[in-house]
């Protein structure tokens, strides 16, 4: 596995998040090195998705700092729309635009944010769809695609902008079991191409094979972190052990 580089590409420090009276994140620190794949696991409500969404400011942290690729995301002078082009995100429910073709989904931000002309955007979009194995589906509407194909289009939509880091929020949780493999395959290829990735997921097999580091979160804190072999086979914390044995028996 690639040893983490010296300067982290994501550095989140002392992140707190309150939703009203609810204290969802209680001072989380997270550093992700270039080309690293960090896996985040934890029970539902542990704050793992909220943490991920703080990393591109879809969720506004109540306090703390988030620096991605040298850009301070919480600085009011930061152009967040510009910064977000460097941070790709993939959602549990795909969130493809249902009124646009697969290619239209991929090229919208290329044209409206990255300022590419239509022909250029189409070429980049086609290449991105080819990378996820869907070159022949460019003209299809999302409703004509399977869940696995929709999620791969969503990945293509993110990577077309050439992000420095990709965030995955339970990318396979909404998929039928037989469609999970194709999405994980694309993520594996992405990882092999050197993409920095933060993945919230329960796909333990994928984590074992591809993750550099696994974080276990519970009650808004990172309880334990380490290489997958250690976290899955010999966790140091009792809470981690209990959670791992639970998801193993699923």
């Amino acid at each position: 596995m690639t040893p983490p580089a010296a300067t982290p590409i994501v550095r989140a420090t002392a992140i707190h998040k309150h939703f009203g009276a609810l204290h969802v994140l209680k001072g989380v620190d997270l550093e992700v090195a270039e080309r690293e794949l960090v896996f985040v696991i934890g029970p539902s409500g542990s704050g793992k998705s909220t943490l991920l969404r703080c990393l591109n400011r879809l969720e506004e942290p109540s306090s703390g700092s988030v620096v991605v690729d040298g850009i301070d995301l919480l600085d009011p002078r930061t152009d967040i729309n510009h910064a977000r082009q460097r941070i790709g995100m993939v959602f549990q429910s795909f969130n493809l635009y249902p009124h646009m073709t697969a290619l239209g989904n991929v090229t919208l931000a290329l044209r409206k944010v990255a300022g590419r002309g239509r022909a250029e955007a189409d070429a980049i979009g086609q290449a991105a769809l080819a990378r996820v194995g869907l070159a022949d589906r460019a003209g299809h509407m999302p409703a004509q695609l399977s869940g696995g194909q929709q999620q791969r289009v969503a990945i293509a939509r993110a990577i077309a902008l050439e992000p420095r880091v990709m965030l995955f929020d339970e990318p396979t949780s909404a998929l039928d079991p037989e469609l999970v493999g194709s999405v994980l395959q694309v993520m594996r290829e992405l990882r092999e191409s050197g993409m920095t990735m933060v993945v919230v997921s329960h796909e333990m097999g994928f984590a074992r094979a591809a993750a550099d580091r696994v974080l276990f979160m519970d009650e808004g804190m990172i309880v334990e972190a380490g290489p997958p072999a250690q976290i899955f086979a010999a966790p140091a914390q009792e809470r981690t052990r209990a959670f791992i044995s639970q998801i193993k028996h699923h």
Binding site: N56, L58, N81, H82, A83, R84, Q85, I87, G88, M89, F91, S93, N95, L96, Y97, P98, H99, L108, A109, K112, V113, A114, A154, R157, A158, L161
Partner: protein, 221 residues
């Protein structure tokens, strides 16, 4: 009876007047529908702003113009405002009144449409760097319009019917012209003819509307 209500000679004589009225009704509709829609889009977009000092005035505005009878609004603009030194003429009054009234209605329809689009759509768009306004314009609004198309059409139907209100400020639209012809000929045939023209004009929209509604129902099953 037929001599009174469907007099061929009178219809023939009144026809050019009625046609001119129909032309004006169509022109008026082509002005006030886009005007109301534009106002509605602005109100609907403003309704997505979560800031209190935008929300409260917006709600008050929409409530006021939905509750205010459009005929009273029109007469106030036409006959009341000149006392304040503001004269807009019949045409200007109609344009402003419809902008205010139908804009509020279109705004409510579009707001419902925007709220029917899942939040994940805007999040996906924002995550790729689109601004809030870009996400609304390219991702949310097209879906919102599609979701409330039957309501938009039905509202448009109402607006076209409401253009007959312009007759009270002496704008020579279809109803006004029919009344002119009626008083000139002292016969109700022009009014009957106007009614038939309104029906023929709007009936296809009504048919289209019920087809859309049936399709929407079928799609929900």
């Amino acid at each position: 009876m037929i001599e009174t209500f469907l007099n061929a000679a009178i219809l023939k004589a009144a026809w050019p007047i009625l046609l001119a009225g129909l032309g004006n009704t169509l022109a008026l509709s082509l002005l006030v529908v886009p005007l109301g829609l534009a106002g509605g889009v602005v109100l609907a977009l403003l309704s997505t702003v979560r800031v209190q000092w935008v929300r409260w005035p917006l709600m008050a505005w929409v409530d006021f113009f939905r509750a205010f009878p459009p005929l009273v609004l029109l007469i106030f603009l036409y006959a009341g405002l000149p006392f304040a030194g503001l004269e807009m003429g019949g045409f200007g009054c109609v344009a402003v009144a419809f902008f205010l009234n139908t804009g509020a209605y279109y705004g409510e329809v579009l707001r419902a449409g925007i709220e029917s689009v899942p939040a994940g759509q805007i999040e996906a768009a924002r995550s790729t760097g689109l601004s809030r306004l870009q996400a609304l314009a390219h991702v949310v609004l097209p879906q919102a319009v599609r979701n409330v198309m039957p309501d938009l059409l039905s509202n448009t139907l109402e607006v076209v019917k409401l253009t007959s209100l312009a007759s009270v400020v002496a704008l020579p639209e279809l109803l006004f012209q029919a009344r002119q012809a009626q008083s000139l000929t002292y016969n109700p045939t022009p009014i009957v003819a106007a009614a038939v023209i309104y029906f023929l004009l709007l009936w296809p929209v009504v048919r289209l509307l019920s087809r859309l509604e049936n399709r929407a129902l079928a799609g929900r099953r």
